[in-house]
Amino acid sequence: MKKILLIFCLLFLSASSTGCWNLKEPNQRAFIIGVGMDMTEDKELEISSEVAVPAGLGSSQVTGAGKKNTYTVVSAKGKDFMDAGQRLQAELSRSLFYAHRQTILIGHHMAEVGLDKYLDMIFRNPKSELRSVILVVKDGTAKEVIKAEPTFDPFISTTLGSQQSALGMKPYYYRMLLCDAFSEGTQPIVPAITADPSRGYVYAGSAILDKDHGIKLVGYLNPEESMYDNWIMGKQKNLTFTTSIGKRNETISIAVQSLKHRTRIKMVKHRPQIYISLHGIGSIVENNSSLDPSREDDLKTIQTKLSQEAEKKVRKLVDKAQHQYKIDIFGIGEHVHRQHPEIWKTLKPHWRETFPELPITVSVHLRYRDPGQTNSSL
């Protein structure tokens, strides 16, 4: 008996000396659902936090007309994240809780200045969620998006991740930004939205951030370009592709389900040659042309046309990256690093200068397995 008591005393002591005394009832916490980061004109960080109001969510207890809001937005300026957080706390009676943050929005200005100085808190603080979806607000502030009324969900922040899934992309989490930022040769391509007065926000493609210069905004890709870029990077799960065909520019749409991508590096005389090949298999979902997808000739015509059109667009994107932005948005550097690690060592210091001159060959093969439920169009 004495021994057992002793053991319990020891256990109790060891447990109480670890400092695990952070009991807080759920209704003593303010759950932050989304965070917006903006840079004001006078170079100060402004944090806008969307805080859940749980009383508005618990439907059973709110009867009658007095339905509360489901969220409130508080914002404060500060020297850094936690400094602003302290000021946010001044406005709230419950202690801020970051672990359920679903979204991080980066204002346009903020992205232009560069993120690197302010992102430390998000992965240093153990109570911080690394799986927050991160987005850049194109030509606007994070604050205005985060204040908007959502259409479906009780919070606008939670919709942003599902929006990306709905568009066929893998949601871009903060930890992926971290991976990209610390990788050898990939630049972070972060999804972008624009503020919209009626809907709150609209998907606007991607923002190209330059990890070599303080994760600073370089430029934007429009939704179509980002789709191809995501395909090359393996971040796209499905997409719908439309092409015009024939003399009267009739359209055919194909919903591509299984996307494959491959980037091969061939070394020719110590200079890398890049071969990007993209494959996709899908089903025809709309056919306004006179072609009959069940006939072999037409099948070939449709597939070649689709592939050529896609190829053209990818080439254009490659051209844009090489000559307009002069930045490796396809993660080619990473492929070189993996496939030819010894050569990468010599290439890495001046990869930014090398990239625009690289010979990049693109080939796209789109096939359809399912012509749809009918033959030719009516």
Binding site: M1, I4, F8, L11, A15, S16, T18, C20, N22, L23, K24, E25, P26, N27, R29, F31, I33, A52, P54, A55, G56, L57, G58, S59, S60, Q61, F97, A99, H100, Q102, K127, E129, T158
Partner: protein, 488 residues
């Protein structure tokens, strides 16, 4: 008080009988003074032979006495010309009551003991012996369906209070002379017959010796139920877990016997103990080996999960919502928070209140007469379930948590095995209320180390999982088909 001060008998019961019937009668009458149910009946045969019949009214079969003993003696007298007869007792024993069990004793104590067990004592003048014939016949409960261990499949018989009936049931199932039944009389006042049943050759002799010696060491005034024996021979009293399987089903006990275990049957108790027990027995239902193996494998997993659930759910809920809200999915966390906006008490207190209410309801449900039983459930459901939530005293998730954990503890097929699960919830609640998940982990480690430490009658409680016996452990988790189970 008065009766306690009275000297029960002023005679030494170990005295041998005398040759004179009058003395013997006087002695026995003094012993059975103020026992209105003990009947003394004098019979005089053919004018000179005096016999004295002593029995306890209500415990003997009067028909047998009339037709087999009294009639032949009174009407026909002592049979003539059958060879030399030493005594009346011998004559009765050998020539008159051929169908009955008889025995002769010489002391008053032995005579009195057997009379009280429903034997008929016959004393003859001039003989210092008592002839005892077993004509006992008293009211017993008939064999009924098991009430605490119902199973969909399998025998509908359950043990009764009568030890003989119970041993018969086992004999009928296991037909081998190797089924041994050692009898002990335990209890100074009750003289309860306790039978150790086992199959010779299957049982481990060292364990059997251990049980025997423990049973012989029992020193009790009375044994009213097998629980008395259980408490007297268990390894440690300081464990919430039962160390003996208790069953009222002859099939469960027979299965135990065939696995080389020892059954302890106690007269007057329909609950038989099977020694030793393992943790996994507590989670097995009687019909586990009667039904198709696939369903049972699934059912077992459900039981294992729910057993874990029964212990852990409330404390994990407390730990997660108050210490580690980051581990709960955001939407769930927000709705939990929303539902407890108006709760006046901390979560721990809420859970404690509800747990106490639940245990109270459960206890009330057992004790109440059947007619007002439903009242408890109605009041319980209304007061605890609905009104408490609507009044804002208790938050809705707590009701869900506590009732889910309560139901899970009832999934455990052996009702007794649900007790430790429900009881251990409370220390775990305290631990996780103070330390969060850390406390839950400490509590579980303590429980597990206790379980590993527990070795009732020398066999580890968590066997065959810890210590691991690979082939047998498979059967704990899967309930393999019989052929494969025996192969491995």
């Amino acid at each position: 008080m008065n009766s306690a001060n009275q000297k029960p008998t002023n005679i030494d019961p170990n005295l041998p009988l005398s040759r004179h019937l009058v003395d013997n009668e006087h002695m026995l009458k003094t012993m059975f003074e103020r026992c209105s149910d003990v009947i003394f009946r004098d019979v005089t045969l053919q004018g000179d032979t005096k016999l004295l019949f002593i029995y306890v009214d209500g415990m003997i079969d009067k028909d047998i006495i009339q037709s087999v003993i009294l009639k032949p003696l009174i009407y026909e007298g002592i049979p003539q010309g059958v060879g030399p007869i030493d005594s009346i007792a011998q004559m009765c024993d050998q020539q008159l009551f051929a169908v009955l069990q008889t025995k002769k004793v010489n002391t008053f104590r032995d005579a009195a003991d057997d009379i009280l067990k429903g034997h008929l004592a016959i004393l003859a003048d001039g003989e210092p012996t008592v002839l005892l014939t077993d004509v006992s016949d008293y009211e017993t409960r008939s064999i009924e369906e098991p009430s605490t261990e119902s199973a969909l499949r399998g025998t509908r018989e359950s043990f009764t209070e009568s030890l003989r009936t119970n041993t018969t049931m086992l004999r009928r199932i296991i037909v081998t002379p190797n089924l041994k039944m050692e009898s002990y009389n335990i209890g100074k006042l009750t003289q309860t017959e306790v039978v150790l049943a086992y199959i010779d050759g299957l049982v481990s002799t060292s364990m059997l010796d251990e049980i025997r010696s423990r049973v012989e060491r029992i020193d009790l005034q009375g044994v009213l139920e097998s629980g008395y024996i259980e408490e007297s021979i268990e390894d440690t009293h300081y464990s919430p877990f039962p160390q003996m399987l208790s069953s009222e089903r002859p099939d469960v006990v027979s299965a135990g016997l065939m696995e080389g275990r020892v059954a302890v049957l106690v007269n007057g108790s329909p609950i038989t103990l099977v020694v030793p027990m393992t943790f996994w027995d507590g989670l097995q239902a009687p019909d586990d080996y009667y039904e198709r193996f696939m369903y049972i494998t699934m059912n077992r997993w459900i039981r294992y999960l729910f057993a874990l659930f029964a212990i852990l759910f409330p404390s994990v809920y407390i730990a997660l919502t108050t210490y580690h809200p980051e581990m709960v999915p955001p939407k769930l966390m927000l709705s939990i928070t929303g539902l407890r906006e108006q709760a006046p008490f901390p979560t721990v207190i809420e859970v404690f209140i509800m747990e106490f209410m639940f245990e109270g309801l459960r206890e009330a449900g057992i004790r109440l007469p059947q007619q007002i039983g439903p009242l408890v459930s109605i009041v319980g459901a209304l007061v605890i379930g609905q009104a408490a939530v609507q009044a804002g005293i208790i938050s809705a998730p707590i009701v869900i948590v506590v009732s889910a954990a309560g139901i899970s503890s009832f999934v455990i097929p052996r009702y007794r095995f649900g007790y430790p699960m429900r009881m251990l919830r409370f220390p775990l609640l305290v631990l996780s209320g103070i330390f969060g998940l850390f406390g839950t982990a400490i509590g579980m480690i303590a429980i597990l180390s206790h379980l590993i430490h527990l070795t009732p009658f020398g066999s580890p409680y968590l066997q065959p999982v810890a210590p691991t016996k690979k082939n047998r452990a498979k059967n704990v988790f899967l309930r393999l088909p019989r052929k494969r189970a025996s192969k491995s």
